[in-house]
Amino acid sequence: MTTESKPALRLSGIVKTFPGVRALDGVSFDVRPGEVHALLGENGAGKSTLMKVLAGIHQPNEGAIFIEEEKVVMRNPLDAKAKGVVLIHQELSLAEELSAAENIYLGELPRKSFGRVDWATLYDRAGGILKRLNCSFGPKTIVGDLSIANKQMVEIARALTVDAKAVIFDEPTASLTDAEKVVLFDVIRDLTARGVGIVYISHRMDEIFTLSDRISVLRDGAHRGTLITKETDEDEVTKLMIGRSLDLTRNIVAGELGPVAIEVQGLSCGKLYRDVGFEVRAGEVLGFYGLVGAGRTEIAETLFGLRAPSAGEIRVDGQAVTIRSPGDAIRLGISLVPESRKEQGLILGMSCKDNMTLPQVGDLTAGPFVSDGAEIAIFDQYRDKLAIKTPGWRQAVGNLSGGNQQKIVIGKWLSMQPKVLIVDEPTRGIDVGSKSEIHALIRDLAKQGYAVIVISSEMPEVLSVSDRIAAMYHGQLMRIFTAAEVSEDSLVQAISGIGAGKVA
């Protein structure tokens, strides 16, 4: 073997157990210098644990890690970094109040005598790294003022302060716009051109096929196989991941449409969105597509009483209504499955049952007391209906997988038997298997006569669930497409403001 062909990073038979769980069961794979190695698996398959082992946060029970064929032990994240393995977190871990340069060299700021920081050297070095990444901002910029994409660049810049052999990206595109993704991919390709090995973890098939050289699949903590990207396709990968194949194509059978359930006219909210008008009928799914920040979530929040409109009218069942609080919205039959499951949807330390019945706990009473029986009946009903996998209603919801957590949130709002169900980013951070289940569920709900509004940043998702699609750009509703009219091109144009007439 020549020096060049040595793997940058190699794992051999890694086993990691937690009480009652074998999280990793003999995982072996390697990353060559200059290669993008995608790591795929459903939530709970062991990806996060594997990353934590690589970054020195967990110590494996068995197996070994090799860097350039030299056996290493990662004692902690700093140690891992010193040995050349850097993790770019899904949830960024930057000090918001400090400058980009300080963040890049956090913990290892260059020093002068008496421990003073050598600012000139710091800004010089950090500026050099940012330039290598083609960043548009300087090293003195305060991180809190940067966009998420640029914050990610700061994280990546951190990785470049050492001679990184391998960089691990965990769902790096989760909150990026399409344009920002392109920049990120360029940076990743630049890293590989310098001989860095990349481990790329993502749920998004299109990205993995664009970017990776090889794909390794984890399922239930075990390594199910490594495929060469050029020689495989999405079907094969999906089958490996979930042990069956999936149909993600658009197969919408328009149901019976009922009366208009909710109607909005001239709705505005300051600078967030302007003059928005639409209606949703019972039995219909209206999709909202647009870039992050286009005003979609803010419209949903207005309909749910979380954000007061500055102008316009909302009608529910033909009646003009004022919605001042989520309580008002709930009474009018409007439910919102929010964008962020962990921050807005669930109380992670509470049981599955308590989470599901929370909006109506005041009504599930016997005398002045909460009725366990009534609560459990509701929980059982929706657990069965949504096929939620949980050891029992006492289980803290934080212990469930992402897909099952999302189903708890959906169950929570379905059990309110709303007329209008708003679902914001229904499958964010959810594995492929649960994703298609949730899509089928949304279609099924429309069939049962719910008026459904789905907000999504993923085009395949809006296309596969919506009867009509509203395209938003910079707070304006550009156009509502019917199923017959819509095409990927026209959607992309509408949400990029092409042909917008007026410029925001």
Binding site: P19, I57, N76, P77, F304, L306, S325, P326, G327, A329, I330, L336, P338, E343, Q344, G345, L346, I347, L348, G349, M350, D354, L358, P359, V361, G362, L364, T365, P368, F369, V370, K412
Partner: protein
């Protein structure tokens, strides 16, 4: 039967740690001094803990909803002084409801500031600690407050009498503990308190009126303080302006010892009662084994730190961890 491994032990500790610690303390002190578990001594400890305990019951609600209340000590002084002063001016039958009303007004003010204006509870109640102290001194003119005719009033029944052989303060403590425990554990309101403390944003997104719930927890806290003030005034029929000084920390210590998380969302009334009793028995035990009174302040602090450490260690599954 599960194997006895470190992780199993930490799981048991996480759930039952406080009871185990309680049993160990009792056992240790009982070995050190035979009088410790004497029924008179036990009743004495519970009785002397009752006022602190009543206050801790209310603060439990505040802490579970994710806030702090550092004003309870100062507020208790206020209640005590006010009820003693009004006793001689308008008679005990009117003084008691008037004192409750005034104390609840203070609670409502805090609840408004923390709940509706969403100001930081640490700052608000720390400020109130000082402001209420000033209010109390203004009311009393800085003098000690005494009931003029201590022989001729029935006002002493709350602090001094017994019913069915049990001192009234203990009865009040037990009764309040039972009622508040049911309110917290069994009613929709209690569930909402946990929800607001567990994740306030998610509670709002579930249609729970977060501000109103927080407001109510401070009303409950103020109500408990008023009860404590009544017991205190009735016991001694006279008081200094600083009678409750420092109690806010002991109250908080009892609530944390009971296992309520300062981040909110966890804890129970029963556990707080255990926390109160542990504090009481530790202080009593230290005296019985012959240590100076002042030592208890240091020992109490050490025990709280140990309790908090074991709590987080149990949650992390190890004694020390670089990440949360």
């Amino acid at each position: 039967m599960a194997a006895l491994t470190w992780s199993n032990i930490t799981q048991v500790l996480a759930k039952q740690g406080i009871l185990i610690a309680f049993a160990l303390f009792m056992f240790g002190f009982a070995l050190a001094n035979a009088r410790f578990l004497d029924i008179d001594n036990v009743l004495g400890v519970v009785r002397s803990s009752a006022i602190l305990g009543v206050m801790a019951l209310g603060v439990t609600f505040v802490v579970i909803s994710g806030n702090l209340d550092l004003s309870v000590g100062s507020m208790m002084s206020f209640s005590t002084i006010v009820v003693l002063d009004l006793h001689d001016k308008i008679g005990p039958a009117l003084a008691i409801p008037a004192m409750f009303a005034l104390t609840l007004c203070l609670g409502a003010l805090i609840g408004f500031l923390v709940g509706y204006l969403r100001l930081n509870s640490l700052i608000v109640t720390l400020g109130m600690l000082s402001a209420i102290h000033g209010l109390t001194l203004t009311w009393s003119g800085g003098k000690n407050m005494d009931i003029a005719d201590k022989q001729g009033t029935w006002f002493g029944i709350f602090g001094q009498d017994e019913m069915l052989g049990v001192p009234v303060p203990i009865l009040v403590f037990v009764l309040l503990a039972v009622v508040l425990s049911v309110l917290l554990a069994r009613t929709p309101f209690g569930r909402k308190v946990y929800a607001v403390g567990g994740n306030g944003t998610a509670a709002t997104f579930s249609g729970i009126p977060r501000a109103r719930i927080v407001f109510c927890t401070y009303l409950i806290s103020a109500f408990c303080v008023a009860c404590a003030g009544l017991l205190q005034a009735s016991r001694s029929l006279g008081s200094q302006n600083t009678v409750g000084q420092g109690l806010e920390l002991e109250v908080l210590a009892a609530v944390i010892l009971g296992g309520a998380s300062l981040l909110g969302g966890s804890g129970t009334v029963f556990k707080t009662v255990i926390g109160v009793l542990i504090l009481g028995f530790i202080q009593n035990g230290l005296l019985l084994v012959g240590l100076e009174f002042y030592v208890q302040y240091v020992v109490t602090w050490v025990i709280i730190i140990l309790a908090v450490w074991l709590d987080v260690a149990a949650k992390r599954g190890r004694l020390w961890s670089p990440i949360a």
